[in-house]
Symmetry: C2
Subunit: 206 residues, 2 copies
């Protein structure tokens, strides 16, 4: 069973806890952080932190979810811009890589820690998939309306686009040497760009 937040927290209080916890996670990583550490940083008792959260993983998930929300908000703004679809998708990909890099840095993850923390990330991942799919569908729909691309089934294409991005990244994250060489992002970006090129080419107006 997944542990969830125990008691509803007032928004300002939640925001403060997440700010403080995020700083600690970013500095010491998830594994080296304890509930006591976070309570100390907040200047509250451990018991009062446990009143709201069953464990540090739950706090970590909340921090990640907040980051995800920020990412989607940023992307919404880019969507509202007047750029063409290829520029929008390129920006999307750059932001996606930055966001996911931030998540990994947040947990101070390496290849081993990544595997251990997978379930934590995968729960958030399902939600993120839907959000990304909707964003990409919106991007495609807008491009159809502007006559930039062919009339396609936007939901199907959006879902597949996001699925390929995820699959490519997962594959790369599984290669230990790439973590060691610190070239995960570089490799992922290269593949994302190539795929986006093919994807756009396949739906361009002829």
């Amino acid at each position: 069973m997944e542990k969830e937040e125990k008691t509803a927290i007032p928004p300002e209080k939640l925001s403060k806890i997440l700010d403080i916890a995020q700083k600690r996670f970013a500095r010491f990583g998830l594994t080296k952080t304890t509930m006591s550490d976070i309570a100390d940083d907040l200047g509250v008792s451990k018991a009062s932190l446990y009143y709201y959260f069953p464990d540090k993983e739950c706090i970590f998930k909340k921090v990640m979810a907040r980051e995800q929300g920020d990412f989607c908000l940023q992307m919404k703004k880019i969507l509202e811009s007047d750029k063409k679809i290829d520029a929008v998708l390129t920006t999307y990909i750059e932001h996606r890589i930055q966001y996911l890099k931030a998540l990994i840095n947040l947990g101070q993850l390496n290849h081993e820690a990544f595997h251990a923390t997978k379930p934590l990330y995968s729960a958030l991942g399902k939600e993120f998939f839907e959000r990304e799919k909707n964003l990409i569908a919106e991007i495609l729909q807008k491009a159809i309306t502007r006559n930039e691309i062919q009339k396609i089934n936007v939901d199907e294409y959006a879902g597949f686009f996001v699925h390929v991005l995820r699959s490519l990244r997962l594959y790369t994250l599984n290669i230990k040497e790439l973590w060691e060489q610190g070239v995960i992002d570089k490799q992922v970006k290269k593949e994302y760009m190539f795929f986006t090129k093919i994807f756009l080419k396949s739906i361009e107006k002829v």
Copy 2:
């Protein structure tokens, strides 16, 4: 350190050992098979089997490598046919799914066993990547010569094509529910077909 075959085996002898071992693996799976079982099936002593192979994993790898060779031979034949690129790639994908399904059946793998056996498969996978890449490059080159597709960098496109197929499959293999529902192949095929459609569309002659 990876264990390798200890002593060179005469081809007919090797072929017989692999035939017999393959039958047992296919029936009982890798984990439930012992070196004694294989030696018994062959009607030889365990010591004489150990003379050639350090462990059952080494035999298993040889069986898998042989299957891979068969797959590539089959594909070479299809390449020599007169079909157009979309038909060739579709056939390729169908064969690929069948071949990989055979490998999984051979090990009697489920979601857990798959994860435990991953290193075994990944060694073979690297070699397979190169073989597949070369096959796809040949398919693309032929299509260019026949004026069916645009002039592209065949090595780059072939490598990316195979990489996406692998990434998509790995992602699906990581989803436990799909193993339980027995729909891995169905799901993988759907994604392969969609990707192939996009891929071909992006390089078609306009």
